[in-house]
Amino acid sequence: MFQAMGVHGPVLSPLSELLLDALLLGTAFILLSRPTKRPVFDSLFMVCLVVSVSLIRVVMEPLPNVQPVTVAALLVGAQLGARRGAAFAVLVAMISNMFMGDGWWTAFQAIGWASIAVAGSRLPLVTSAGLNLGRVCIASVIAALWFDFFVSLSLLDGTIGLYEFMIYLGHGLPFDFLHVIGNLTFTVWLGRWFYNLLEEEPTLEEIEFAVVNGHGIDG
């Protein structure tokens, strides 16, 4: 909706844009800066993930409001947790908007996707049997509508009334619907594959620990 309607909020000065980018980058850094057993592997994995999803978003720009990032954020949150999911969302918004147009809306997109990643980490999308595609589909529908609504809030700069805002949201419903269908398509086609891609392989130490621990219990 946001893209298709061609609407935007206030323009940021270069300094404000720099500050916004620094804030987003700082947020992502803080979210990612926690001890990890495989710092190099984890960092490389996150870089590859962010770059590839950003690239997909840029490549798919000609398709109006088809947003692969929404489902990706949901699944990254579900599989890697809230912190890494939110960091992923912030970085993808920032990097892809460097090519697609940076501005005030970047912050709203970053927060929108980050909130979806957090929701993904909290929702019971993963069961003992693996990814529950039905639940992911429902979540991706709600996520599409939530994201479009949240990003539209960037227009509320004090000069647009509630009625005008509602009219604006109403105009965008066909594009919201497209986002929903796009999300469902991504989920049913690539949901499981992407989820498996994110599944963390245990380290040798973890395997050894589990085996020894198992023997200990057996003994």
């Binding site: 206030p10 109403g170 105009h171």
Partner: protein, 563 residues
């Protein structure tokens, strides 16, 4: 994993035609070479160039160089007639008249020019000498519409009416008041003349000047109505949409209506084929006993559309970084679009001119940056079959259709076999493709219905008593800066907030800086003032579209305020 691969392959196949459609480039560039180019100092080329048989005549307008300039085929500038009294955008097409004689006397070969200061001039194409000149009425501006020739007379749509003038000496035979007009050309029929006005009224004026009005109520009529076998065709402009209507000329009733997008272009007829354009699409109709839509493609065009003799359509794309569109339409009713990169970019509303001379085909392009480029190619027999062959089979469309059929077929089979996982996959992809294909029409219709159901109240921008009367019913721009208001009025002919603001800033000597984003063109600073951004209001309502997408009326007041 083995099942995912072919599925992903199908997805890639689906995306391939979409991606290639964006960047499709014709063989036109290989066949045609740049012969010469000319950059006018400033202004716009808002109407097609004219070839008289010897000279190429180009009309420029705007504040910099309102003129008619003649070039020879090699690009040598022959003469220029400047009209410094021109009020604004001169877009009335140049008319070439062969030598002849009538009751009013004899006239030589000449070119007729209508100016926004109301002057109607006849110039000799060889050296630009003024043969005759008459003054017509001015109300904000004068002549902006297309003339029509009728025997020994020229029929001129003026600002508030239409007049008949002798070709021999320019003497006015009669003038009849109609409605306020803008770009409202006149067309000739057996019974007289047809033209429209800004109030959506279709006028019939007979050859003695007696008028009849038919209030259609469909929107502004800003082109010469077209006579077809099905009736008179007008493309009427409403606030955010348009209607292509077929009118019964005997009683002015509407026989057929077709929906169109915002800001329509001037429709054009080629035999029984009609092409219309607007900010959302280009449509083709076949008009015999009735008009029937036979093709449409997404395209943004608001000015002139050109049919070439071989059935190819050339249209300027009126967007900030635009190219031209080349459309082919064959007898099997396949409409194909190819982007033409001719090396000049930006807003454009002037149709390209194509003519043959010295065993070469010349194609002349001009745009709103007043840049002129002339291309040539040798006449070869295989030209036409090549274009026809291109139109015969559109791999992208056919491939997409094939995929759609595959998806719907496989969805059905998978559903029947109980393979629900794959059924969800194929059916979701099917719906996504269908939705992407219908989205432009769906969103246009949805917005139209939504606007009708929930009209927004507009706070009128008030007329300032200190403004000159000549600004009445014209386009006005107010820029608030450092606590002061800088106002420029008397502007005409702009279709978007962007082009209007550009001209206003040109007059004020302000520089505009901006950038293209995924959301449209974004104005970042005016005269070096960035503030926290700039926002605009049209007639008191805050703009919610990017400036290059926001269409405006002929009497809009645009206000810019720093945030």
């Amino acid at each position: 994993m083995s099942r995912r691969f072919p599925a992903l392959l199908l997805l890639s196949l689906l995306l391939l035609p979409l991606a290639s459609a964006e960047y499709q480039q014709s063989e036109w560039g290989n066949e045609n070479s740049l012969a010469w180019e000319y950059g006018f100092d400033s202004g716009f080329i808002s109407t097609s160039a004219l070839f008289t048989g010897e000279e190429i005549l180009v009309r420029t307008s705007g504040n910099g160089e309102p003129a008619v300039t003649a070039f020879d085929l090699a690009g040598e500038k022959l003469w220029q007639r400047i009209n410094n009294r021109s009020l604004s955008n001169d877009m009335s097409p140049l008319i070439h008249v062969s030598a002849g004689q009538g009751d009013c006397g004899e006239w030589p070969e000449m070119v007729l020019v209508g100016w926004t200061d109301g002057r109607i001039e006849a110039l000799l194409p060889s050296d630009g000498t003024l043969f005759w000149s008459v003054q017509s009425e001015v109300a904000g501006w004068g002549v902006t519409g297309e003339f029509a020739l009728d025997g020994e007379y020229v029929i001129v749509p003026t600002r508030r009416g239409v007049g008949q003038y002798c070709l021999a000496d320019g003497e006015q035979q009669w003038w009849t008041q109609t409605g306020l007009g803008w770009r409202n050309g006149v067309s000739v029929s057996e019974s007289g003349y047809f033209l429209g006005d800004e109030y959506g009224v279709l006028w019939h004026v007979d050859r003695t000047g007696e008028s009849l009005s038919y209030p259609l109520g469909l929107g502004k009529i800003r082109h010469s109505p077209l006579l077809t076998g099905a009736g008179l065709v007008v493309h009427a402009q409403a606030v955010s949409s348009s209607t292509i209507a077929v009118i019964d000329v005997s009683n002015g009733s509407v026989i057929q209506q077709f929906p169109g997008g915002p800001s329509p272009a001037k429709p054009s007829l080629h035999g029984t084929s009609l092409v219309t354009g607007d900010s959302s699409s280009l449509q083709i109709f076949s008009c015999t006993a009735l008009c029937r839509q036979v093709g449409d493609l997404p395209f943004h065009t608001n000015g002139e559309l050109r049919w070439l003799d071989d059935g190819v359509i050339l249209a300027p794309s009126n967007t900030p970084d635009s190219n031209w569109g080349l459309f082919t339409f064959d007898e099997r009713e396949n409409l194909t679009y190819t982007s033409l990169d001719v090396g000049i970019y930006g807003f454009g509303t002037a149709a390209p001119l194509q003519f043959t001379a010295n065993d070469q085909v010349f194609t002349v392009f001009g745009n709103d940056q007043a840049l002129l480029r002339v291309f040539t190619r040798a006449i070869v027999e295989v030209d036409e079959p090549l274009i026809q062959h291109q139109a015969d089979f559109d791999w992208g469309t056919q491939g997409l259709l094939f995929i759609i059929f595959m998806l719907i077929g496989s969805s059905t089979v998978l559903f029947l076999n109980g393979k629900m996982d794959w059924f969800y996959r194929t059916s979701s992809l099917f719906f996504l493709i269908i939705l992407l294909l219908i989205l432009p029409d769906l969103s246009t219709q949805w917005s139209k219905i939504f606007d009708e159901q929930f009209p927004t109240e507009q706070e009128e921008e008030l007329w300032n008593a200190q403004w000159p009367d000549s600004w009445l019913d014209t386009q006005i721009v107010i820029i608030e800066m450092d606590g002061e208001e800088h106002a420029v009025g008397g502007l005409t002919g702009h279709l978007t907030v962007y082009s209007l603001t550009q001209e206003a800033c040109d007059e004020l000597g302000f520089e505009i800086d901006g950038e293209f984003t995924e959301l449209g063109y974004y104005i970042e600073s005016i005269n070096g003032v960035e503030a926290k951004g700039w926002e605009y209001f049209t007639d008191g309502s805050k703009g919610v579209m990017s400036v290059d997408s926001a269409s405006i009326e002929s009497s809009t007041i645009v206000r810019w305020t720093p945030v």
